[in-house]
């Protein structure tokens, strides 16, 4: 496979991995806060987290452009103050993927955290574990099955992101053309064989990750 043909595959892997590096800590922290803390704007945050899941990708993409575009409030500020331009960069693809992947993790992990008996955490604190250790040694291991499922769903969503990426990162061959964009472009050009290559790679990737996760849960089950 030529470099240009290989590029969308490596790019998609990089974008999804970086997105997961953002989504995993942010999503778990958010899920924990929503599960364990009661604060005034909690239900508002609940709704906001859900938003990218229920909105069409085109709306997400549009909002990203409006906010982070060169003329958007955040985009203009980033460029003026930090000399950073997000739109039409691989970083924009990472951001778009992260935004749509985040709710998959939060909405899976939050009920799992809520299901951990509070007594378990209370006892652990009384045994001298600081809150951070309680999370790592009690809450997370108790909920890990759902957390893993959430991570898999989030990864699949991140690696397959299309609409918002197209609008916010653009289709720049050799820079932002992830597999889903390449599939669409190849299909429009009538190059179905080229599209099929990425369809197969993308499908095997998502399926492979899901199977791996199922296997990990199974292996621990058998212990």
């Amino acid at each position: 496979m030529s470099d240009a043909r290989l590029f969308p595959i490596t790019l998609s892997l990089q974008v999804a991995s970086l997105a997961m590096a953002l989504v995993a800590p942010a999503g778990l922290a958010l899920a924990w806060v929503q599960a364990r803390r009661r604060y005034p704007l909690r239900s508002v945050v609940d709704g906001l987290v859900l938003l990218p899941l229920v909105l069409p990708p085109s709306v997400v993409g549009f909002l990203l452009v409006v906010v982070f575009g060169r003329r958007g409030p955040v985009g203009a500020w980033l460029e003026a103050v930090l000399d950073v331009r997000l739109i039409f960069t691989p970083a924009a693809a990472v951001l778009a993927s992260s935004v749509v992947a985040l709710p998959m993790l939060v909405k899976t992990a939050q009920p799992a955290f809520e299901a951990v008996p509070p007594e378990l955490e209370a006892v652990s604190r009384s045994l001298g574990l600081p809150p951070w250790s309680v999370f790592w040694r009690v809450t997370l291991p108790s909920a890990w099955r759902s957390v893993l499922a959430g991570l898999v769903l989030a990864f699949a969503r991140a690696v397959g992101e299309f609409g918002a990426t197209l609008m916010f990162a653009g289709n720049i061959p050799g820079r932002t053309n992830t597999m889903p964009l390449e599939i669409f472009s190849a299909y429009q050009a009538g190059e179905d064989a080229r599209a099929l290559v990425y369809v197969v790679v993308l499908s095997s990737l998502s399926l492979g990750v899901a199977l791996l996760a199922a296997r990990m849960t199974g292996a621990v089950e058998a212990r």
């Binding site: 209370a122 006892v123 652990s124 604190r125 009384s126 574990l129 291991p141 108790s142």
Partner: protein
């Protein structure tokens, strides 16, 4: 290793707390020099809320808490030591064990990493003491209710707490098991010299476990003393009638209320009607203080 601590003169626990959860508020005054203090009262009287406030799991609205003279909470001076630095053990009624760890791992759970070795002699001694040696590698779902609470107790003692809080720890255990567990708990606490607060709504359990009893009624701690004094005793006399006036307090602290037509009911051993129509009521002497 754990004889009576040298600072025994300092009370194990002194607290005055007002705790609010939702629209329920409980106010309590707690004193414990040594041994086991029982929080006694019906469900919903505020025992568990107070216990959780002692553990640092709930923040009291106001009041103070000192353990062995150390300030752990003081609303006026804004002292609030977090739960994990209080060195106060906590054993709830259920859900105490981590289901994904075996018994040994559970018991070692609160120890610093370097002490979590399998051959830690202190842990081995605890296992012997509580009769857990044969269960070392069982998982919590395989244990009986009584075994689970033994493990929970071993784990709480493993980190050598200054005070142990137990919230109806034997409530879901059958009768015979409970007697056995009470004995084990009392022995373990004595051997380790660990003062404890034990919550129960069962008068029999309160009598067996408590060196002293603090009685809770509808969100207040109302009475503290030896079990024989505080706990409801066997035979009693009930007097009812229409009050002829308001109750009056006498200099000795007792209450006197004149009744119009009154009904007195009680066992014949305590009531002695005289020929002149007067009634003598004899109350049993308070039991010896322990």
């Amino acid at each position: 290793m754990n004889g009576p601590p040298p600072e025994a003169a300092v009370p194990a626990l002194e607290a005055r707390l007002t705790v609010t959860a939702g629209d329920f508020t409980v106010t309590s005054e707690v004193q414990l020099r040594e041994g086991v203090l029982v929080f006694f009262g019906p469900s919903g009287a505020g025992k568990t809320l107070t216990l959780q406030a002692l553990a640092g799991l709930l923040r009291p609205r106001e009041g103070f808490l000192r353990v062995r003279g150390e300030w752990l909470f003081d609303s006026e001076r804004r002292v609030d030591v977090p739960a994990h630095r209080r060195r106060i053990g906590y054993v709830p009624q259920a859900h105490a064990l981590l289901p994904f760890l075996d018994v040994v791992e559970n018991v070692r759970f609160g120890l610093p990493r370097r002490e979590r070795r399998a051959d830690n002699p202190r842990i081995r001694a605890l296992f012997e003491e509580l009769g857990l040696a044969h269960l070392a590698h069982a998982r919590p779902p395989q244990l009986s209710g009584g075994e689970r609470q033994r493990v929970a107790l071993a784990r709480a003692l493993a980190v050598q707490p200054r005070l142990l809080l137990l919230d109806e720890p034997f409530a879901s255990i059958d009768r015979e098991g409970r007697a056995e567990l009470r004995r084990s708990l009392r022995e373990a606490l004595r051997r380790h010299g660990t003062p404890a607060v034990f919550v129960t709504h069962d008068a029999e359990e309160a009598r067996v476990m408590g060196d002293s009893v603090l009685r809770f009624v509808r969100g207040r701690s109302v009475e503290c003393g030896p079990p024989g004094v505080v706990l409801p005793r066997g035979p009693s006399v009930a007097v009812s009638g229409v009050a002829a006036g308001t109750p009056g307090q006498r200099p000795d602290g007792s209450v006197e209320l004149a009744l119009g037509e009154a009904t007195v009911r009680g066992p014949a051993s305590l009531l002695r009607p005289a020929a002149d129509g007067r009634l003598t009521v004899e109350l049993p002497a308070p039991p010896d203080e322990t």
